[in-house]
C-alpha cells in the first residue's frame, strides 16, 4: 500500500510499504477513506519532536471502512464506517475508566522512554514518534487500529467524510480546550492561534456560552475565518496584544485564555530571537511565546487552557503571575473517545459543520507538497485533507 513516511526534517515521502496486519486480538484494519495533516504534524516535519525514526508512517487524523477485525472485537463488523480517535486507549485501565483516555497506562509500548523525559507515560498516539509508541499512522491506504473495540465512533450514512473526519482530533481538541475554561455567562475568552484547533476553540467557546471570543493571529485568512466563526480579532503584528486585550476587556483581562499555538510560536523582536536561538542550541525544546503572553494577559483568578503541543523544556515562564494572581493552568492531550459521541450529536443536529475548516483537498501522493505548503502557510492553507 501507499503511505506517507517521515525520513527526516523536511523530508516526507509517499512510498510503498507492506499492508498492515492484525497483530493482536483487539486490532482492526481500516481502509482509509480520508485523512488530514495536523498542525502538530508540522512539529515532526520541522524536526522538533524527538524519537522519530526514518520510515515512520505519519498521520493521526483519519477515518475509513473496517476491512478486517481481530478475534476479540465484538462491536464492529467488516464494512462499518468509523472515525478513529488519535490517542490509542485500552478502555480498561484506571485512567480509561475515568474517561481520561489520553492518559491510558497500557497503550504505549515504549512507556519507559516517555517516563525518561516526562516522568510518566501518556497514551500511545498514531504516527507521533516512538516516545508515544511509534504506531504506524493513517496517512496511508490502510491502517491498523489497536483496541478497535474502544477506539472508534461509527458515523451515519447521511454525514459526509469531510463533516466527521475532524472528530478524530481537532474538533474535540478545540472543544476540550474551551470546556477546560469552565465558561460562565458573560465570559470573554481569548484564543492565541487561529489554526484548526484555534478555530474549533473559538466555535466551541461560543457553543459553551461565552459572551465574547477574541482571536489572535497574523494571517489575514485565518483571522477572517475566526471572524466568520463569531470572534473579534487581533493581528499581533499590528497591535500589542496585551494592550489590545486590556482595552477590549475594560482593563481586567480575558476571563480565560486558550493557547492554541504550542511549541513553535512566532514572536516579533528580541524575545522571538531569544527563543529561536535557545531552541537551535537545544537549550530549550519549545518556543513558548504565546503561553507567556497568555499568562500575563489573563485576568486575576482566570484559567489558561493549553491545547497547543509542547514537547519538553520551556524557558523564562512568568510563573510569578500564576502564583500571585491565582491562575489555573489546564492542559492535556485530548480525551477524544470521551467527546466523540456528544460532538457527533452536535454535528448531526446542525450546531456545527466542521468541514468549514478545509481549504485544500489533495491526493495522498501529494502529501509531501501538502506538508510544505501547510508549513509555509502558502496559498492561504489552513487545513489539508488527503484522499488515498
Amino acid at each position: 500500500m501507499k503511505a506517507t513516511c517521515w525520513y527526516g526534517k523536511h523530508d516526507i515521502r509517499v512510498v510503498d510499504v507492506p499492508d498492515p496486519q492484525i497483530l493482536n486480538p483487539r486490532d482492526a484494519i481500516v481502509r482509509v477513506t480520508l485523512s488530514a495533516i495536523c498542525g502538530s504534524d508540522l512539529h515532526l516535519y520541522n524536526g522538533f519532536i524527538p524519537g522519530m525514526r526514518r520510515g515512520d508512517i505519519l498521520g493521526h487524523e483519519f477515518m475509513g471502512e473496517v476491512v478486517e477485525i481481530g478475534s476479540e472485537v465484538h462491536n464492529l463488523k467488516v464494512g462499518d464506517r468509523i472515525v478513529v480517535p488519535f490517542p490509542i486507549s485500552c478502555g480498561h485501565c484506571f485512567f480509561c475508566e475515568e474517561e481520561s483516555f489520553s492518559l491510558c497506562e497500557n497503550s504505549n509500548p515504549n512507556a519507559w522512554a516517555a517516563e525518561e523525559i516526562w516522568g510518566h507515560s501518556p497514551a500511545g498516539i498514531y504516527g507521533y514518534s516512538h516516545l508515544v509508541g511509534g504506531y504506524a499512522g493513517g496517512q496511508a491506504e490502510y491502517v491498523r487500529v489497536p483496541f478497535a473495540d474502544v477506539d472508534h465512533v461509527k458515523v451515519p450514512e447521511h454525514l459526509s467524510d469531510e463533516q466527521v473526519l475532524f472528530l478524530s482530533d481537532v474538533f474535540p481538541t478545540g472543544y476540550m480546550a474551551a470546556e477546560n475554561c469552565d465558561i460562565e455567562p458573560g465570559d470573554t475568552v481569548a484564543v492565541w492561534g487561529c489554526g484548526p484547533v484555534g478555530q474549533f476553540s473559538i466555535r466551541s467557546a461560543l457553543l459553551l456560552g461565552a459572551e465574547r471570543v477574541i482571536a489572535i493571529d497574523r494571517f489575514p485568512e485565518r483571522l477572517q475565518m475566526a471572524r466568520e466563526g463569531g470572534a473579534e480579532t487581533i493581528d499581533y503584528m499590528e497591535t500589542d496584544v496585551y494592550d489590545a486585550l486590556q482595552e477590549m476587556t475594560g482593563g481586567r483581562g480575558p476571563d480565560s485564555c486558550i493557547d492554541a499555538v504550542g511549541a513553535e510560536a512566532h514572536a516579533p523582536g528580541l524575545i522571538g530571537a531569544y527563543d529561536r536561538t535557545k531552541q537551535a542550541l537545544m537549550l530549550e525544546t519549545d518556543r513558548p511565546f504565546a503561553l507567556r503572553q497568555a499568562l500575563l494577559a489573563c485576568r486575576n483568578g482566570g484559567t489558561i487552557s493549553v491545547p497547543g503541543v509542547y514537547g519538553g523544556i520551556l524557558d523564562k515562564m512568568p510563573f510569578g503571575a500564576v502564583v500571585n494572581r491565582a491562575l489555573t493552568i489546564r492542559s492535556g492531550q485530548t480525551h477524544v473517545q470521551h467527546y466523540m459521541p456528544s460532538l457527533l450529536g452536535r454535528i448531526e443536529n446542525g450546531d456545527i459543520d466542521p468541514s468549514f475548516l478545509i481549504t485544500h483537498r489533495m491526493s495522498l501522493d501529494e502529501a509531501p507538497h501538502a506538508f510544505e505548503m501547510f508549513a509555509k502557510k502558502q496559498d492561504e492553507c489552513i487545513k489539508v485533507v488527503l484522499v488515498p
Binding site: A3, R26, E97, N106, G134
Partner: protein, 329 residues
C-alpha cells in the same frame, strides 16, 4: 521452610516495619543508595569543573604564585580537569572509571608538585608548593573514597555478584484475581518476554524454558517456597539448576478504587556464570528496567487481555528479518 523475608535478607526490617511498608512504603534502600551515589558523582564532577576553570582562567597567576613561568602546563591540567568533570556530570556509565581518573590526575599533580619543590630554592616558594601539595593530598583522599564507593555500586550490580531487581506497579484488578493469574505459572510466557514456557512437572515443581539474550535457551526447575493465597507467591529454582534465583511477587490492595499494588522482586542467590550470565544481566542493574517491563506487560495483559505492541507493523524501513525467519531459511 524459611520464609521469604529470611531468604531475601531483609536484615533489620522487622515484621512491624514491614507491615507499615505495605500501607505506606518508604523508598527502598537501593533507591536511597542510588541517590547518594548520584550526588557523590555530581559533587566530584563540579569539583573537577571548579578546579579546571580556575587553572585555565588564572593559569598565569597560579603558576607565578608557585614560582614557575610554565603556565601552559597549568592550562593543560585545567583542560584535563574539565574533561573529567564533564564526564562525571554527563552521567556516563561507569562513573567509577572517571572517579579513578580523578585519582590518577591527583597523583600526576602531586608528581609535578614534587618536581617543582625540588627545583625551587626560596623557602617562601617551597612553603607554597608544599601547602598546595597538602591540599591536593586531601582531595586525593576524597577522590579515593568516592572512587571506591562508586566502584562498589558497579560491582554490586554487575553480573558477577547477586543482581537483584525490584519494581512495583498499580494494577486495576483485585489482589485475589492477580494472585490467581500469577499462581497459574503457565500464564507467565503470555507476558514475560523471555520466558518461552512454564510447565508443571507433576510433583509441585515447574520446568521453565527461557530464552536468554543472544538466543541461547536455558532450562531450570523451580518450586514455590512460600505463598499466601491472594497476597504473595515466592518461588526459587532447585539447586541443580544452571540459574539459581528467587522470585517473589506480592499483591496488596491499593487505596480507593485503585486496584492492587503489585511488587515483583527477583534476586540471584548464586553468581551465575557461563551460559546463565546473559540472563543475569536481565535482572542486574544495567537492566533493572527489563524486570519492570515484565511487570508492566503483566499489568497490560491482565487489564486489556493482550500485550500492546507495534512489532510486525508496516513502515517505510527496509524489512528486517527476525531471527526465527533466518533460522527457517
Amino acid at each position: 521452610m524459611a520464609s521469604v523475608t529470611d531468604v531475601h535478607e531483609r536484615g533489620r526490617e522487622t515484621d512491624e516495619s514491614r507491615a507499615r511498608a505495605t500501607s505506606r512504603s518508604e523508598p527502598h534502600a537501593a533507591l536511597q543508595r542510588k541517590h547518594r551515589n548520584a550526588r557523590l558523582r555530581q559533587g566530584l564532577g563540579w569539583l573537577s569543573v571548579g578546579i579546571g576553570t580556575a587553572e585555565i582562567v588564572a593559569a598565569r597567576r597560579l603558576s607565578k604564585w608557585m614560582g614557575t613561568r610554565r603556565f601552559g602546563v597549568m592550562r593543560l591540567l585545567g583542560v584535563r580537569e574539565l574533561a573529567t568533570g564533564a564526564a562525571l556530570l554527563a552521567r556516563r556509565r561507569r562513573p567509577a572509571r572517571f572517579a579513578w581518573a580523578r585519582v590518577a590526575g591527583d597523583v600526576m599533580d602531586l608528581g609535578l608538585l614534587g618536581a617543582l619543590y625540588a627545583a625551587s630554592r626560596r623557602p617562601r616558594q617551597r612553603a607554597r608548593v608544599a601547602g598546595t601539595a597538602a591540599a591536593i593530598a586531601g582531595i586525593t583522599a576524597l577522590d579515593l573514597v568516592g572512587g571506591r564507593r562508586l566502584a562498589r555500586e558497579r560491582t554490586a550490580s554487575s553480573a558477577r555478584s547477586r543482581p537483584r531487581s525490584r519494581s512495583t506497579l498499580t494494577v486495576n484488578r483485585d489482589p485475589a484475581e492477580l494472585y490467581q493469574a500469577w499462581r497459574d505459572f503457565e500464564n507467565l510466557p503470555r507476558f514475560m518476554k523471555h520466558v518461552l514456557a512454564v510447565e508443571p512437572r507433576g510433583d509441585g515443581r515447574w520446568r521453565w524454558l527461557v530464552e536468554a539474550p543472544g538466543g541461547k535457551r536455558l532450562e531450570w526447575n523451580a518450586e514455590i517456597v512460600h505463598e499466601q493465597p491472594g497476597r504473595e507467591i515466592a518461588w526459587r529454582t532447585l539447586s541443580e539448576s544452571q540459574v539459581e534465583l528467587l522470585g517473589h511477587v506480592r499483591f496488596e490492595r491499593a487505596p480507593g478504587k485503585r486496584g492492587s499494588r503489585v511488587t515483583l522482586d527477583v534476586q540471584y542467590l548464586r553468581p551465575p556464570g557461563g551460559l546463565a550470565a546473559p540472563i543475569a544481566r536481565l535482572v542486574g542493574k544495567a537492566a533493572g528496567a527489563p524486570m519492570h517491563e515484565e511487570l508492566r506487560r503483566f499489568k497490560r495483559w491482565i487489564e486489556t487481555g493482550e500485550v500492546p505492541t507495534t512489532e510486525g507493523q508496516s513502515s517505510g524501513r527496509a524489512p528486517r528479518k527476525t531471527r526465527k525467519e533466518e533460522e527457517r531459511r
